[in-house]
């Protein structure tokens, strides 16, 4: 018998991490900017929200967007740094960013140091404390808004610009796209959703500590992003579901769990590099065909593209 609260906990976590992954998908999936430090943005949002609500008694409903904005601002900084760096340098710089941010959480008492911040209040709405299923609904409403933003972005010039800088920066410039500006946008927008996810995570767990946002969490988010599939608005939710559910399913394996998980991951990536629903994957082609209402000619050509 699967218990409800357990299920709700899992679903809430899926929703929160899907939101952070959706942000990462903007930075990495659409704009092609490697970010191995997304968890740091989640942490920045979580601590912003936690500090505002515990030390300054600001309402959750104000802290939630502020958490996103804080991450957004730091995202601008990282975006500026990213302008000068090429692929692998950028990858390692974002790893470093993650390490430095959690180190600051650990070393400075504002962030609770190694003890973290406890008693983060649960949000209330019309006098009802939002917990378990109410909180899950809140998370999924926020996720739905983010997915709608994602959909809208795909259909706006923003999406076009991000894809263009991913493909070729010079070509993008020659089409009137200011590459620097859009790199900064890619990082800051991606960070915004991570920050909001961080706030949601903080008020869900009611206790956060620096180690919740370490580099391994960034890798988890990256795995969600790639397994679900890059450049797809549904990818993050699918990726988050897999990455969170699999270890739960593997739970009976106890100490063999991590080994099984690692092998599963390697096999999946080897045979499905586009992820479950990423641009160019089998499912993606089917869905696009459904929305277009016709079987498009790209099907075969995309298959060729996979090989190239």
């Amino acid at each position: 018998m699967i218990s409800v609260l357990y299920l709700i906990t899992i679903l809430t976590l899926i929703g929160i991490y899907a939101l952070a992954t959706l942000g990462l998908n903007i930075t990495m999936g659409y704009a092609g900017q490697v970010n191995l430090g997304q968890a740091a943005f989640v942490g920045i949002g979580a601590f912003t929200s936690a500090i505002l609500t515990t030390s300054y008694h600001i309402s959750f409903w104000i802290a939630l967007p502020l958490a996103g904005i804080m991450a957004f601002l730091i995202g601008i900084l990282i975006g500026i740094v990213s302008i000068r760096l090429k692929q692998d340098f950028l990858a390692i710089t974002t790893i470093g960013f993650n390490f430095i941010v959690v180190a600051i959480f650990l070393y400075y008492d504002v962030f609770g140091g190694s003890f973290g911040i406890i008693n983060i209040p649960r949000p209330t709405l019309f006098g009802i404390t939002l917990k378990s299923s109410y909180y899950m609904i809140l998370v999924f409403i926020v996720l739905a808004i983010a997915m709608f933003f994602n959909y809208w972005m795909e259909n706006s010039w923003l999406g076009m610009a991000l894809r263009a800088i991913k493909e070729d920066e010079d070509a993008a410039e020659s089409m009137g796209i200011d590459v620097k500006k859009y790199k900064i946008i890619a990082f800051s927008f991606g960070a915004f959703f991570a920050g909001v996810a961080g706030s949601l995570l903080a008020h869900f767990k009611t206790y956060i500590v620096w180690s919740d946002f370490g580099f391994s969490v960034s890798i988890m988010l990256l795995t969600m992003c790639i397994l679900g599939g890059l450049e797809s608005m549904y990818g993050p939710i699918i990726g988050a579901s897999i990455v969170i559910l699999l270890p739960e399913i593997f739970r009976p394996l106890a100490e063999y769990r991590l080994i099984t998980y690692a092998i599963f991951l390697i096999v999946l990536l080897k045979y499905m590099p586009q992820g479950i629903i990423g641009r160019g994957s089998y499912l993606d082609r089917k869905i696009r065909a459904f929305f277009k209402g016709e079987e498009s000619t790209r099907k075969e050509e995309d298959q060729n593209a996979e090989d190239s």
Binding site: S156, W157, R163, A171, A172, S174, M175, G176, E301
Partner: protein, 250 residues
């Protein structure tokens, strides 16, 4: 239309361009030829803002543009193609052109606007037709042969509605037939009132197409005039024979 005044560019110890002065007149097809390493592509990169000059000025329609970023220059009306084609490989031909068609929307906060408006879709389709890619509208561009990718390159440049179009070796690596088709295409473009500046390696092709020519050698202008005059110029022949005879042949 475009005036280049005392342009210099240095890469470390190498003087890539020295004291280049040039003028592009409205409506013409201007050729820039010269042996390998003469600085032709560097010149293009500076005009389009991809490189900053060491000294000198570039004036486009009365405005100094040498310090502007490439995207701004595009908005002012100068478009370019790349010698090594740079299509957005994983996007379809239509998406490639559409990205360029929206060039005015990448400034400020206009990027929040939807691209799926009739205005843009129609414009993109018109350009696809103009360059003769109707049959490949929904093909992923990276899969097309080089000849067709060159057309995408030109189409993208046209899509930004340029007043001045800079073509960097549009026929490099193409067969004779393909070159002839491109030639026709360039002529059609010019009929639409676009001024064209053309860097070419292929001298006969340039002679055939251009109204006027500059010859660059080792970063200096060594000759200027009508194609017929220029190819008879002694300095030019020396430059080609002394430098790389083979390149005239190719």
């Amino acid at each position: 239309m475009l005036k280049i005044v005392n342009l210099n560019k240095r890469f470390g110890g190498l003087q890539a361009l020295s004291n280049v002065n040039m003028e592009v007149k409205k409506g013409e097809i201007l050729g820039v030829i010269g042996p390998n390493g003469a600085g032709k592509t560097t010149l293009f990169n500076i005009i389009t803002g991809f490189l900053k000059p060491t000294s000198g000025r570039i004036i486009f329609q009365g405005m100094e543009i040498q310090r502007l970023p490439p995207a701004k220059i595009v908005k002012l009306g100068i478009a370019r193609t790349f010698q090594i084609v740079k299509p957005l490989k994983n996007l379809t031909v239509f998406e490639n052109i559409l990205t360029a068609v929206g060039y005015q929307n990448y400034f400020g906060l206009h990027f929040f606007k939807r691209w799926n408006e009739e205005e843009y879709v129609k414009k993109a389709e018109k350009i696809i037709k103009l360059v003769g890619l109707e049959g490949h509208r929904d093909t992923v561009s990276g899969l097309l042969p080089l000849g067709l990718q060159k057309r995408i390159e030109i189409a993208k440049a046209l899509a930004v509605e340029p007043k001045l179009l800079l073509l960097d070796e549009p026929t490099a690596g193409m067969s004779y037939e393909e070159s002839e088709e491109i030639k026709e295409l360039i002529k059609r473009v010019r009929e639409r009132g676009v001024t064209i500046m053309l860097v070419e390696h292929n001298v006969p092709f340039a002679v055939d197409l251009t109204d006027r020519m500059y010859v660059l050698s080792y970063g200096k202008i060594i000759a200027e005039g009508s194609p017929e005059e220029v190819i008879k110029n002694k300095k030019v022949i020396e430059a080609y024979l002394g430098g790389e005879y083979a390149s005239v042949e190719s």
